[in-house]
Symmetry: none
Subunit: 322 residues, 5 copies
């Protein structure tokens, strides 16, 4: 089995609307069964700010909680949250994603300039990840009160603590339904079992995580780009013998996410060439956008702004009507 | 009384940013003590859509409830709510204002194209107005769920039913505070007492209404333009002997509204010249914008669009940074 | 003004899908912004039971509460609620509409055979109608518990008690939104003011009532067929000089109802010819169906069943896809 | 119209099970759609205590609240509530019906000996009855706490205060549904309108009241036995010309009550012969039992006990399986 | 012990209504003590859709959550949830069963075409099953809002986490009772203890699981077909020496489930002959229907549709009135 997709994925370029030849189309907003509140807010992120055309370029700044200030050493200016707010505003990001504290103390200065995604749960990286679970730091009602346009929630797929996670997420999802707030799920494979099944960066784990987010009710799912490695051999069949190339693997993930829009995670800082290639392949495979933090604010500001201009240009090629 | 304002309002023209000579400045958004949610949403109305620059051009379509379908005879196309939605979108209004039914049944098609102000209370015009009171048709939570950027509420200032009105408004205001939703008060003098004190269109009543809205917690107040008439003589002193010209009278109202931004009501359809003069005078006197319904959708569509272009041009003269 | 409609209403018959020449089309279900629960339940009434094809034939039996047992004398068998249940089942009605007591005591025997519309408010006809107000006898949650597919609510448009009515309806509407339950509004002009403005059967009052139902959030509105009379001269302009024929008047009402589907009330028992003509004209003018009680169960059972067969035949001509 | 019933009501006696010839059968318990809680409690009243066989003999003692101690002068012993409790116990009544105070202070001594019906609303007879409304004195939860087997609620059918009454009853009915508690409605015509339509003892008013109780959700309805009088001529047609004999009139009321079981009210004290004739006619016409207060405890105790033995004998003739 | 049933299960075929000779009859709906809401909804599944006649053919699609996308490789089209929705619709299934995400994003397109069973709890297959517990992903109120006709809940019978499971189920059951929503329990033996007592596929475990579902309040219970194996010897006596044939073993389970209707689980894909034999034996032994996922959507669509036609034919033989 070389291709699980019914969509055209190779061969000579074919013109499909405005998207580049051979690109997978993203689900149309109007097909998602969204109520008017989710529709209005998602349209703001996808069409009203950032690169537009149904794409999304998000700047996350929750690493101070997740990893600690260690992440800010590469670019000391980035320690001040205003740095990321201003980068998001000046780089015309679709939104900035952060926790309640950075929202309450700083967002009032940037409200209207850059949309807010309130990250609702988090944890420090200090204790062991074996029972990974990310507790609530805010609520959907906080997000409404702050004028956010979406909420973010981390699900640790595969963690032995998945029962508490599902329960907690269910309540977030219910409030988000009630208040018309889009839900972006950070779908992260985690827990000891995962590491025995190809690892958290393998296709098996990421593909599963994307599907879990869809079934639990995510409107948007943020996943890592799967990385082929020797550990894949330990994945359950048939993942252990798929041997998909990077884009085909990612396209598989996008398809598993179904009508949940897909954002690609940046992960650790890489070279420009690698990053742009990854973005282009992701968009080609049906991603809606990217959510890059360290790859943005660990660079010098001017370099980051230059990079966002290049990203805008790529995204424009994948514009799609609602 | 020559000038009720502490601001320079006469003498030789002084350059005050981009506003025309002698114009009153509107309160700066940052001075209003708004939380981030109200700030984000108001900025959307004042800067992100419509003429921008801190101005507001609102299209109301609640007359079907307040007056009945009789208002749609002048332009039969206007009976279909899509007409007003499309006029608001194509004429680049800052927002459309309407009741829950018109929001739930139609807004999903226009979400993202034109911001929504959910009108929260209303009544029919059939029974007597002596005890005027406008009951809730929706809630702030409905507004959040629908993705609205503000709520509208009618206070009948002077009605014997003011106790129920204040109580009902207090709950709306509390929910709006909790959820970061701006509140626009339709401040209408009403009730038998008013008619004995210069009438509902006199300066006494409108000036009082504007101040009531401010004190009750309005973020924005919608008032009628006061009309001088012989009935002014029956107003309480010193209103019965003020003899202000139209713009000075309106400036007085704007000052009474303090840090509540002021929108001028359109009322019945008038000639273009009258309407534009009224708008210019209002903006000069410190209004933030206008909320014109019948003057918009009782005209043929092309005429209305041409008029909105003229209004945009006027509003641009009064642009002001946040 | 001879025609307030943008739709073709006269001239030579034109083929518009499956509906007869010149007929107004009803709003398509998929355009109404309905969530999945309302959609699933409305489809059951419009397509899964009764004449289908997007039409609705409802049998109401709330007259015992509204008028008293006096209405059952014409056909003594009709005093036993099983009579109406069995008529609705055997005549293949789309639904039966009744109050909580008749639902709790009888519906368990007919569940699955005929859908239930739970009427949520009512009053007796004994006290004066001057301040007409219909109090809750059940809730949306009762309707869910009983397995109903819609709820019914009477709004007395124009009653001086409209403030309590709007408030009470708002809570019903909110629960219905929350639980995915379609809301059918019995929109009845009532109160002393109405009688001075052309009466409760005049076009002015019925047209206004239909629009009020739309703006308050009805999914379906039940109205009386307007009756031209000398009292029309007392209606507000321009209603006092419209002189529309019966079908044009009703088409006007349908248009005022916008995206609320329209059901026509039967009222007192009339001759077959009159009734069928009224039904045909209503469907031609864009009605979704009828809600006939006394005209059904005051007849002998066989006669009523024969009549429903004729109604099914008419409704089939107006079938329309979802 | 001489007989509104489809059931055999005259002619030669026909053997229908254990009930006397020509008697109307009461609805079978198993047909009423009752949940198990209502079923268990009603069976206790109908089969486990009192005369049994599906009949009910209830002793009410709420006259101290409704009329004042004036009612106890005829038999001074009756002033002490223990008198009625012991009469109910020793006379093997199906239940005693009273307000919260008489339950909390006395029932603990008789719990297990005689079932309790907690009367939930009441009023004094001191103010005018024009806007008659009976406020809550206890709740369904009180009834559960006290171990009652049913609750009683007075609806004043036709009172201008019917809106508050319906609303209040709805909440009682909801709690009773939730907690499996049978609801007995005291259905009393009342209010100025009634007195103009044949009076509160006329067939029109009582027939209407029985139907209202059914539609609002009563499990059992307590009505007065209609009294023919000259005032009937003022009833709405066709009541003004029915001229039914006493039993036929009562049978009409029983049919209007549908699947709500019917109890006959005693009213003022009458002679034994009259009383027994009324009971026999009521049972023959389909009543489930009687609720006699003053006719019981205004007599000397021994006389009352003798009378109850006669009533038991009559009731045994009308025994019916569940 | 050769026959645990009191019903005739052997000997020459006897005609029992429409069911094949010797077949066990299913409990009649009217005997189940269901309130009207559960009755209306269950009748929809058992008589209004699918093969009807009181049988149930359910298509589950929760494997993406429970097992991951790995299950979709056999038929790549099946990765898109629309595939299963369309198979359920075109194959005339009684219902489709899935989680909140697949309901919210897709059901709006199929509402009215195929009934929905909302699965309320789930887990991934990644961590160990030793403490198996399935957390809530949705609620009964979600199911009502979405227009579902039943809810599904997995109980892991035998898991050490059964205390949390019972507590969680109790709340689901209470809400389902309150809202009239039928509850289908996926009764799965699980946990380390089970594996020591004959395994999760043995009769001991499945028989116990069926009874647990009945006692906890399931309306319908989904069980696996017990599989005889050498591990049975480790079951508690007398299960370790029963040696029932497959159908007799399953009949035993059906009887343990009492008045909970029984659905048979499909499990992994098997051959057509095996599958049809298993279905026939299940229906003969008193099952109400089947819930087959992988055996349906892992086949090519046309093959699956052909198979459903064969299943419909079998089910028709076992039709039974309500």
């Amino acid at each position: 089995m070389t291709d699980t997709s019914a969509r055209p994925a190779g061969g000579p370029p074919v013109a499909t609307g405005r998207t580049p030849g051979g690109a997978s189309r993203r689900p149309a907003l109007r097909s998602l069964g969204l109520g008017p509140g989710k529709m209005a807010r998602l349209k703001r992120l996808l069409y009203g700010h950032g690169p537009g055309g149904g794409t999304m370029l998000v700047l996350p700044i929750d690493q101070g909680l997740e990893h600690g200030p260690v992440d800010f050493f590469a670019n000391p200016d980035s320690l001040d949250p205003r740095y990321q707010y201003e980068l998001a505003r000046d780089g015309q990001f679709s939104a900035i994603a952060l926790h309640i504290g950075l929202a309450e103390k700083y967002f009032h200065e940037y409200a209207g300039d850059v949309p807010l995604i309130l990250k609702l749960n988090g944890k420090t990286g200090i204790p062991s990840d074996a029972q990974a679970f990310s507790a609530l730091t805010g609520t959907v009602e906080d997000a409404v009160r702050l004028g956010a346009d979406a909420v973010g929630y981390t699900v640790y797929v595969g963690s032995p603590a998945q029962d508490r996670d599902f329960e907690q997420f269910r309540q977030v999802r219910r409030d988000a339904d009630r208040l018309g707030m889009p839900v972006i799920v950070w779908a992260y494979p985690r827990g000891e079992a995962d590491s025995k099944k190809g690892g958290r960066e393998g296709l098996y784990a990421i593909d599963y995580a994307a599907r879990v987010a869809l079934e639990l009710g995510a409107d948007v799912v943020k996943v890592n780009y799967p990385v082929a490695s020797e550990k894949d051999a330990e994945s359950p069949a048939p993942y252990n013998s798929l041997h998909l190339d990077a884009e085909a693997a990612f396209r598989k993930v996008v398809e598993s996410a179904g009508r949940a829009l897909v954002l690609v995670s940046g992960g650790e800082k890489v070279s420009d060439a690698e990053l742009l290639a990854k973005v282009r392949a992701s968009m080609h495979a049906g991603a809606t956008g990217i959510i890059f933090g360290r790859n943005m604010w660990q660079r010098p500001r001017e370099e980051a702004l230059r990079l966002t201009r290049e990203l805008h240009a790529i995204f424009r090629e994948y514009a799609q009507p609602p």
